[in-house]
Symmetry: C2
Subunit: 225 residues, 2 copies
Amino acid sequence: MEYYYDLLSQPSRALFIILKLSKIPFEAKEIALATGVHLTEEYKRTANRFGKVPCIVDNGFQLSESIAILRYLAHQKKIAADLYPSDCKIRARVDEYLEWQHENVRMGCAMYFRKKVIEPMFLKSQPDENEIQKWFYLMEKSLDIVENQWLLNTKFIAGDKVTAADIFAACEIEQTTMAGYDPCKNRPKLKIWLKAVRENADFPYNEAHKQVYQWAARMGGTLEL
Amino acid sequence: MEYYYDLLSQPSRALFIILKLSKIPFEAKEIALATGVHLTEEYKRTANRFGKVPCIVDNGFQLSESIAILRYLAHQKKIAADLYPSDCKIRARVDEYLEWQHENVRMGCAMYFRKKVIEPMFLKSQPDENEIQKWFYLMEKSLDIVENQWLLNTKFIAGDKVTAADIFAACEIEQTTMAGYDPCKNRPKLKIWLKAVRENADFPYNEAHKQVYQWAARMGGTLEL
């Protein structure tokens, strides 16, 4: 199986960590999004017709969308059982988070980072303060829902163990530190949770976040957990 | 199992059709979003903590997010086999579409409808032409990807049979007709596909879309398929 990813992409990191924790072997195809190689016709033909990361090519079968890839591998019983539990209700809670995340944590954190950092850096444009504020609001609201709903009664999102939901969530939330933002400020549960996710996912998590931590340090966003 | 839904909500319709086609019995809890009942504390406590539709309460187990509900029921082998096939690759293609849809077909079509029709109607505000244009662009781009990618080589999204992916997609796309828009114009494959989805999903599809068709007729958006 070939795995195409850029560790500066949140879902690329999440899937990278999950593949490593599940001990699924893969041929690493690191793609630097900044070079635009993912937009070439060759990439679209041989890897992902939508021109995005992450994606896999499994014996010729091309599949994109990180959560679809998670499920494809789980279907084949390759994902570590704890990360995507077979218990019907726990798995449903993991799925519920992963579906909820798209228009909430993912969109808020990713768009805030993009408008605040990426577009001014790469497009050399003035930051659009209206756009930044709009996504800042969604980011804050989504993180508050993680604090007050998803972590209301449980140590992790779907219970007392780390699952894929926590890893996907943490990778989105870590992204904000590259904009110098502190997602844990005034969110004590989220802070304890993020530390626990980092510890549980251990080496692969650190490997995946190496560039993020360096970038965050330059932006004054290093988290003290 | 209690099913909370509003047939003017796209994922509510999709799940309604899938439940009916799969012959899954449910206690119908119709929620009129226009009344705001889904935002009450009682609804959040007894049905869905996020205050949205659709959701289920299955013997006390509360679950939201339409796609998570689909998977929860499929996990228990309750969903009709054709709609969410057990073949690993076909299911992966269904999942890939359902994940892709969030920020594409769903967001484009839903936000266009909201900015064009709902907000001027309910907030009595002037239509915001910039916002309408922005979502119109995403809607058109997403529908073009359905035409040129998802339906490139296959009759339906994941092969030669209707699956949950087609039903979710069709329910999002039908919504645009309530804004007087014709999603099939200049998209011949999409037109043939939408007609085939309607025919395959038959009675439940018509039942679910009764209000949509009436509304579309008032807006001049009735589709001639």
